[in-house]
């Protein structure tokens, strides 16, 4: 009965468009999670550049990849630190 009233008011009980939208958003998370090796490489180089400004890192041992589960995609990086750089700015 409630459903009937809802329909009379123009509100569908189950809106299939929301189902479509949610399914699309999920499938695109996975589709978009792939990155070309070129782009992944240049991201890696840029990251190293930025981090090296502050920390000495072991570039050769750096691990870095896109990981995904059901709902999310994460950029997971394992960056071994050799030593921290001195914080000259803090002294001045």
């Amino acid at each position: 009965m409630l459903e009937f009233i809802a329909r009379m008011l123009g509100k569908e009980s189950a809106s299939s468009k929301m189902v479509a939208k949610e399914r699309l958003q999920l499938v695109l998370i996975h589709d978009r999670a792939s990155m070309s090796p070129d782009m992944l490489n240049s991201l890696r180089e840029d990251l190293i550049k930025v981090i090296s400004k502050y920390i000495d890192i072991d570039e050769a041992a750096l691990e870095f990849d896109l990981c995904q589960d059901e709902k999310d995609v994460a950029l997971v990086a394992n960056i071994p630190v050799i030593k921290m750089k001195r914080d000259y700015a803090a002294k001045g």
Binding site: E12, S15, S16, A20, V27
Partner: protein
Amino acid sequence: MGEVIVVTSGKGGVGKTTTSANIGTGLAAAGHSVVLVDTDIGLRNLDVLMGLENRIVYDLVDVTSGNCLIKQALIKDKRFFNLFLLSASQTKDKTAVNPEQMKVLAAELKAEFDYVIIDCPAGIEQGFRNAIAGADWAIVVCTPEVSSIRDADRIISLLEAAELRNPKLIINRLRPAMIKSGNMMDTTDILDILDVELIGAVPENESIIISTNHGEPAVMDNNSKAGEAYRNITRRIQGEEVPLLNIDESHGMMYRLKRLVGLGLH
């Protein structure tokens, strides 16, 4: 110097060729010199949508392989003296042309015409790479369906990888009644997902089928809602700011009756 616009989608059957025909005709009607290039080698259709299928002598492959001059392969439109078609070959396949040749061709055409509209084949293989090779910017066509939007998303990434950034989206075959009942994604839903700029929303319309039957683009039909949407798109391509068409007003008797008694509306 004109501009080269590629009309693409990834998925087949969403209205790329119809869009190309309408945009090209619309721009020509506005007084610009336009050439339509069908790059769907082996499955050409722009010729029939334009009603020019009986006039083709030379085609795209003849031009790129040097069998004829570009001028010889340009077929003049029936309605507009400033509109031309360069047809695809029906008997060859997509590998008969390569992206380098398309770049050269696009450059030559854009030196002569205000607008070069390139109709891209479905898929992401060589036909797609040929079509986008010489383009300045891209129009992506999709329909409000999961499969079409997913493919559009993939195409947008591929376009960006090929340095064709910020493509403009046309959402085709919107059905106001289904949107109202919550059973079809609307333009906002689709833009949420794809995150690109919209250049037009075209309602599903019988006039498109009728105009296709005649080989006359709907953009010339003043009584067609889809035609109006295409006219708006051509104005936006020319840089005009045009508000989105309200596709909701094409409701029938029942809707007006319901509205009268206050039912079926929020």
